[in-house]
Symmetry: C2
Subunit: 217 residues, 2 copies
């Protein structure tokens, strides 16, 4: 049971706890994977039988150590591929995800490591997500969600969620990229949006954006 489907499921489960550590429910998984709830229930049962996840009926889904190993491996593959596409093939950071989603299952370990080596064994991908090492080691940078940062907080952007390519383009236009320095000016009451100073000027960002950007702590 290490099909490409299984690889995507454990990756989605891992992903959910990577920045906020709450266990993931089947319906959340279904949403992220774009599948029906019933499909996820069935697959989770198979993953549990294969020893990749823990799951009691009607409960949340959690990775076993073996499932986590597979997930971390898959995350490494995904992020190495994304980095390679940007660094070596002229992709923009909002164009890499779909291609990586497929390639991550197709490359041999040997080829993936050769590509990683040719990139100098990068430690983060184009969105700032940490790339696990080949031995499974993961380093999580200390970071604060922009939405949680108090007025006056100032810090470099260390991660931007790659969920929404359109948002990535919006941010690029606004001059907000990895390593850009941001200052939180304040929260606009009732609008839910924040005022932020970037190098290029002041920007209003809505709650979706504020939950997609992490600043150095």
């Amino acid at each position: 049971m290490r099909s490409t489907a299984a690889e995507d499921y454990v990756k989605a489960i891992y992903h959910h706890t990577e920045w906020q550590p709450e266990p993931v429910t089947p319906s959340q998984l279904a949403t992220r994977l774009g599948l029906a709830n019933s499909t996820v229930t069935e697959m989770v049962k198979k993953l549990a039988a294969a020893g990749l996840v823990h799951h009691r009926p009607y409960g949340a889904v959690e990775l076993t150590p073996e499932g986590r190993r597979l997930a971390v491996r898959q995350v490494r593959r995904h992020r190495v591929v994304e980095t390679w596409l940007v660094e070596r093939h002229g992709y923009e950071w909002d164009e890499v995800h779909d291609e990586a989603e497929i390639l991550e299952h197709a490359l041999s370990d040997r080829l993936l490591e050769s590509i990683a080596a040719s990139l100098g064994d990068p430690e983060r991908d184009p969105h700032g997500d940490p790339i696990p090492a080949a031995d499974g080691t993961v380093r999580r940078p200390d970071a604060v969600l922009l939405a949680d940062a108090p007025a006056g907080h100032e810090g470099a952007v260390v991660r931007i969620s790659d969920e929404d390519p359109a948002m990535l383009r919006f941010l690029a236009d606004a001059g907000i990229a990895l390593d850009a320095r941001l200052t939180v000016l304040g929260v606009k009451p009732y609008s839910g949006s924040m005022q932020v100073r970037a190098l290029r000027g002041t920007v209003d960002v809505g709650p979706d954006v504020a939950r997609a950007i992490w600043l150095a702590a």
Copy 2:
């Protein structure tokens, strides 16, 4: 109907007529693809319904123009990947086939062309097989099968079949590689093997090898 299975089938059909132009039978396809005859019969029916092949029951299988286009595209992808693995990732020529067999289905057109461009748009792969151009143009070098070459014939190796990795290693050890100059010394009666002079000395090659090597005409 352009699944990875369909891509492999049309490629196998194309492959059969690439160097000897006889139409391919279902059982030959089954052998090449490592599948049961019944499986091939069924898939051929589906390919015919999709307009990729012509097939009358109990007859041979031939590509339609559309099937040929898909096959040529797939051959390009396979050979570009093999070339890339050898040129950029330190693979030996006997190690590339299986990885290419998978990757050829996973790369986007954009990425494949970016890789091809980074290699200088190569015209032949590590075994000497011609790489079709991106527009579908195919150039076939004039070549004679070693098995068909008369005693005294002398010419450069322009192609070595990549069917059998062990044979490729044997040939590499014997100093027979792409562009090596060979002279046919003669056929050993009753043994079916040929005597051939290479740079490194004289070699006896059996019929399998003699049918795997093409010399410049």
